[in-house]
Subunit: 277 residues, 2 copies
C-alpha cells in the first residue's frame, strides 16, 4: 500500500472502506526514534497503519511553546514512508476546529496532579483532541509513549469510562545512550543544557535504587533523588513524585509497585520523565 497524505476529515472517512484492524499513532509531528518505536509496534499489529500529525493549539497554555513547537512535515513524511505507514492525517487547525469548540472531555482526579497542576486545562484539551482523532480514524488500537505517562493514564481512563471501542497500547520510553528520554522538545536545549539533561533520569534511577534497597518512606526516596538534581544549578525542579501506577496519585508510603515521575526546567525548556519501581 502506498502512503496517502490527506488533510480533511472527509478524506479520512473515504479512506475507511474496510474498518478492520487499523492502528493509529497520534503525534504532534517532529518525529523522532520514540515515535518510530510506536510505528514499528503498530505496524506489526495492524493491517492499516495510520499516523496523525497535529500540533493542537488548545493543549498549550498562553505562555507555552505553541508557536515555536517544531514543525517538520516533510521530514516527518520521510520517516513515515520509511516505516511503511499507510495513512498520514495532517489536518489544519481549521479542519480540526471548524466551529468554536464548545465540547470538551474532562477526566477528573487523574488530571489534577503532576503536570495537570502546573498546566491547567492541558489534559482536558488532550483528552478532547484524542477523542476527536479516535473518532476520525476509528482505529482498533492507538499507541502512546509512556514518557507522557499521565496523558496515557488519562486516555486509558477516558476510553474505559466512555466505552470507546479501541485498545490503548502503552509503549516504553526510548532513551538516548546517556539516559535522556526522547522528546521533540529536546531540540530546544543548548549544548550546555543537553549535557545536564540526563540528570532527571539519574535522579529517577536513584529513587529506584532507594526503593530496591528497602526504603518505604516516599519523602526519603524523594529527598535522595532531589539531591541528585541539586548538583546542577541549571536545573529547576517542577515536581518529583512517587505515585501509584493506576491513578498516579501521590503516595506517602511505598508498599506496592509505584511509578516515579519528574518534571524539570532547563532554561525555557520543560522536560518530563518517569520510571516504574
Amino acid at each position: 500500500m502506498k502512503l496517502v497524505l490527506v488533510h480533511t476529515v472527509r478524506e479520512v472517512r473515504d479512506f475507511q472502506e474496510s474498518k478492520n484492524n487499523i492502528g493509529l499513532v497520534p503525534t504532534m509531528g517532529a518525529l523522532h526514534a520514540g515515535h518510530v518505536r510506536l510505528m514499528e509496534i503498530a505496524r506489526r499489529e495492524s493491517d492499516v497503519l495510520a499516523v496523525s500529525i497535529f500540533v493542537n493549539p488548545l493543549q498549550f497554555g498562553p505562555n507555552e511553546d505553541y508557536s515555536r513547537y517544531p514543525r517538520t512535515l516533510s521530514h516527518d513524511l520521510e520517516i513515515c514512508e520509511r516505516n511503511n505507514v499507510d495513512l498520514v492525517f495532517a489536518p489544519s487547525v481549521e479542519e480540526m476546529y471548524p466551529l468554536p469548540q464548545l465540547t470538551s472531555v474532562e477526566v477528573g482526579r487523574l488530571s489534577e496532579h503532576l503536570c495537570g497542576k502546573v498546566r491547567p486545562g492541558h489534559f482536558r484539551a488532550v483528552a478532547t483532541v484524542v477523542m476527536k482523532l479516535l473518532n476520525i480514524i476509528q482505529p482498533q488500537r492507538a499507541y502512546f509513549g509512556e514518557k507522557d505517562i499521565q496523558q496515557l493514564t488519562i486516555i486509558r481512563r477516558m476510553v474505559a469510562d466512555l466505552n470507546l471501542n479501541v485498545t490503548i497500547v502503552g509503549v516504553p520510553i526510548v532513551r538516548e545512550t546517556d539516559g535522556l528520554a526522547l522528546s521533540s522538545r529536546n531540540k530546544y536545549l543548548s549544548a550546555e543544557e543537553r549535557k545536564v539533561a540526563p540528570a532527571l533520569y539519574r535522579a529517577l534511577q536513584e529513587a529506584v535504587n532507594r526503593i530496591r534497597a528497602g526504603e518505604k518512606d516516599a519523602s526519603k526516596v524523594r529527598e535522595a533523588a532531589l539531591e541528585v538534581l541539586a548538583n546542577f544549578p541549571l536545573i529547576r525542579v517542577e515536581y518529583f513524585e512517587i505515585v501509584d501506577p493506576e491513578e498516579l496519585q501521590p503516595l506517602a508510603t511505598i508498599s506496592a509497585p509505584v511509578r516515579i515521575a519528574g518534571a524539570i526546567w532547563l532554561g525555557a525548556t520543560r522536560l518530563i520523565d518517569n520510571v516504574n519501581a
Copy 2:
C-alpha cells in the same frame, strides 16, 4: 431477525458482526407513542434497529425523580417486538458505570440556559451517557425526539465537535389530541393536573400566533403566552423563552425563525414543550 435482549457491553460488541447501517433509539424506557414514532422512522432507514433502555442515575439531580421514574421493561419489550426492533440494550447501572465515572463530556454555552439553568450537571450527564451509548452500539444514525430540544441541540453539537461518525436525527414531537406533548412523566399527573397540562402547548401556540401577526418584541410575545398560563393556578412556570433555533440562546428581537420553549410544574411534575415559529 428475532429480537435479542442483552444486558452487557460485551454482548453488544458480539452482536456487531456487521457494523453496517445500525439505527439507535436511545431511551429511558417507559415507552410511549413518541418513542414508537422514533422506532418507525429508524426502522425504515436501518438494517439493524437498536433500542437502548437505561434510566441514567447521573442525569437526575438529588431532589429529582430518579427513584420513582417509571420502569416498565416487560411492557417496553412488547412495544419493541411489535415495532420490529432487532436489539434492545438494557444495561444495569453497574454495567454502565463499573468504575467511578471520572470522565465527563461537557458542551459549553448550549447547556447553560433553559433546562440547564435549573438542572445543574444534567446535560453533562446526558452528553456523557449518550457518548457511552453511541460508542457501545456504534450506530450510523441515532434518533431523538424534539421534545427534549435542548438535549437534541447539545448532542448534535457534541457529535460535530468530537467528530463522531454518526448522524443525529431529530423527530418532531408526538402529541395527544388535546396538544399535550407525549412524555413518560405524564403518568405522574393527577386527573386534575392532566386536564390543565395542555395549557403549555396552548401558550406556545399563542406565542406563535403573535409572531405570525408581526410581533418582533420577544418580551411582548412572552407576556402574551404567560397570560395564557396565568389562567391556571395549578401551573407554576419555570421558564418560557424565545430562543434562536441553532444554539437556543434567548432573543430580545424576533427577526428570523425562532424556537419557543417552556417548562412548567404541575404539582411535583415538571413538563417541557417547544415549537418552531
